[in-house]
Amino acid sequence: MSRRKTERLLNLVVCLLATRRFLTAEQIRRAVPGYPDSDEAFKRMFERDKEELRELGVPLEVGSDQQGGGGEEIGYRIPPQAYELPDIHLTPDEAAVLGLAARVWQRASMAEAASGALLKLRAAGVETDVPTAVGIEPRVNTQDPAFPVLWEAVRDGRPVAFDYQGIGRTSMSRRHLEPWGVVSRRGRWYVVGFDLDRDEQRVFRLSRIVGDVKADGPAGAVTVPDGVDVRRIAFDWGDPVNEPRPATVRLRRGAAQGPRRWAKDVRPVPAGELDGAWDGEWDEAVLTFRDVDRFAPYLARFADDVVVLDPPDLREAMIQQLKSVLACAERPARPADGTVNGS
């Protein structure tokens, strides 16, 4: 940290805020202490200083005014109305909610931005140490390495490129995306945008991006089409294709607590209805499902504590699911070193 640099930048801000006219680089050099004598060194330092002010969010206006001493030459100023945070007054309940919101990003990549915002609001006179009555502490994690780059790309309207390993794909593929937004559900982050390779809107999960996300064009190159709601694109998969259907199942007494939580018409099966293959006590119940391909794997979890009686397609799917488990389990594990055990 350079004290002299901070001092120079502070003087530069005060100088450019105080002026109504555009000040040329030369005028600034004379007004602000701390710039070097060499023209070349001054030019380099001034360029860096301008960049730092922009990073800090200082609205540096570039232009010229004929009436001023600068003539046609390009000059700089900071318009106070563009610099200053407008007046903001919060009631105590609003301030309490603000404190809660600022803590949401704790330790995540937006945390720094949130505390920066809080600092400015405090500076504007807002009291943020108001105890919250809400009683809930929400947290958002943005640990995906791709998050910061993608958020900046969305913010700046910049196209990106990355390697992506989709589920069910045998290899990664290079994707070129115009990002429209980043959204999170159940702690998982997704980027929504226009996929330039597929020529349509697509959703990518950040955890499946391999390696770095690279800028793939200039800032401002991406325009989000009117009416795009990134949340709907990411999470609204339309109405389910299948109508809900009832399934008749047998549940072992005292087991399969998961399905029992939403089972209907649970009734004990009289011992007389159970032949020798049915050990112990059983209940019969009705479960509602839509998608055989999802429901069969879910029920398979409960092994021989859940048995599907009807409908036949679900019953068949259960049999295939369990057979595939057997087939996988029976495949001999390959020795790690590639040699075959001679047992």
């Binding site: 730092e52 609205p59 600022a102 499946r208």
Partner: protein, 342 residues
């Protein structure tokens, strides 16, 4: 599944870097002046706390403000500043007496968080929330626009149609009044319904799900309870007694933190089974080529892995430990026998 306290952190915690670049420091100075101006005078200690710096650092910052002097074209009066007797006052600082506008990142960080809060069911501060969002949007101006391109969804679990009877409302009430609660709680990892008395500590929304953190009198430890797994809830007429040494769970370090004593389970996954690596915290993930993966999980209880293997079908299988793989095989064979297949 209840998360455990202690144990090795699964993921490295983001290092909190001290902001000490000259740009950061300039940002602090530009906020410090209006902070003091807006309050007429501020105690050194109070200002240091508000800005997250030591008093020494703060004095160093204040000394920098003394250095403001412009030589030309309009000679500028130095800022009149004092921190005598530990009270800071600032005068003659008109040009920087207002804080800088919010940057896009800053406005977005707050607005995205506030809109996420608005998605939490049973929040009775909704009115303050929408007023605050409107005020911030107006203060941020154009910097607020990009925030609509980021969104965090919260699963709208309430447990009851009556807003006063939701699990969330009952638990908030129990926390506010310091009451013990009785939970019927479903543990999917063991497919068990459990009954337990819990002294509530706080409610958390992590990874889009709502949790109760509390001292579980059955486990005699701090536990997290996912609200949508609470099947029955009663607020007891007994004061909550959270032991003084009960440490809140550091949820920022990840919800599931395996302990080195846990058993290691190795799974091999086909390309279609890769989702497992997304959903479960893996100790290691190894690419086997053609989209296949080998992952190692650590778990104190392998029962749920049996269920996972049955659910995976041909998407993956247990490799190690061999005994667990054999159990999965037996589970599938017994289940098939119920369908008349042997």
């Amino acid at each position: 599944m209840t998360a455990k306290t202690g144990g090795a952190a699964g993921r490295p915690a983001a290092a909190k870097t001290a902001a000490t670049t000259s740009t950061d420091r300039l940002g602090r100075l530009l906020a410090l002046v209006p902070y003091v101006v807006n309050r007429d005078s501020v105690a050194l200690g109070e200002a240091a706390a508000a800005f997250g710096v030591t008093e020494k650092q703060l004095i160093d910052d204040l000394n920098l403000l003394w250095c403001v002097e412009l030589r030309a074209p309009d000679p500028y009066c130095p800022i009149d500043l004092s921190y005598e007797g530990g009270e800071i006052t600032v005068a003659e600082a008109e040009s920087i007496a207002r804080p800088l506008r919010l940057k896009v990142d800053e406005a977005s960080a707050l607005l995205v968080a506030l809109r996420m809060l608005a998605g939490i069911p049973g929040l009775d501060d909704r009115d303050a929330l929408s007023r605050l969002i409107a005020k911030l949007e107006s203060a941020a101006g154009t910097a607020a626009a990009a925030s609509s391109q980021v969104s965090v969804e919260v699963d709208a679990y309430s447990g009851s149609a009556d807003p006063d009877r939701t699990g969330l409302a009952l638990l908030r009430d129990a926390i506010a009044r310091g009451r013990r609660v009785h939970l019927s709680y479903y543990v999917p990892a063991r497919d068990e319904n459990t009954e337990r008395d819990v002294d509530p500590m706080r409610l958390l929304v992590v990874e889009g799900n709502t949790y109760l953190e509390g001292w579980c009198r059955r486990a005699e430890a701090v536990r997290l309870f996912k609200l949508d797994r609470i099947t029955d809830l009663a607020v007891l007429d007994v004061p909550a007694q959270v032991p003084d040494d009960a440490e809140p769970i550091d949820v920022d370090a990840g919800l599931f933190r395996p302990s080195p004593q846990d058993e290691a389970v190795t799974l091999e996954l086909t390309p279609r089974g890769r989702w497992v690596a997304d959903y479960y915290p893996c100790e290691s993930v190894e690419e086997l080529g053609e989209g296949r993966l080998r992952v190692v999980l650590r778990t104190p209880d392998t029962r749920w892995v049996r269920g996972l293997a049955l659910r995976l079908g041909d998407q993956g299988r247990v490799v190690e430990p061999g005994a667990l793989a054999a159990t999965v095989h037996d589970d599938a064979a017994r289940a098939l026998a119920r369908y008349g297949m042997t």
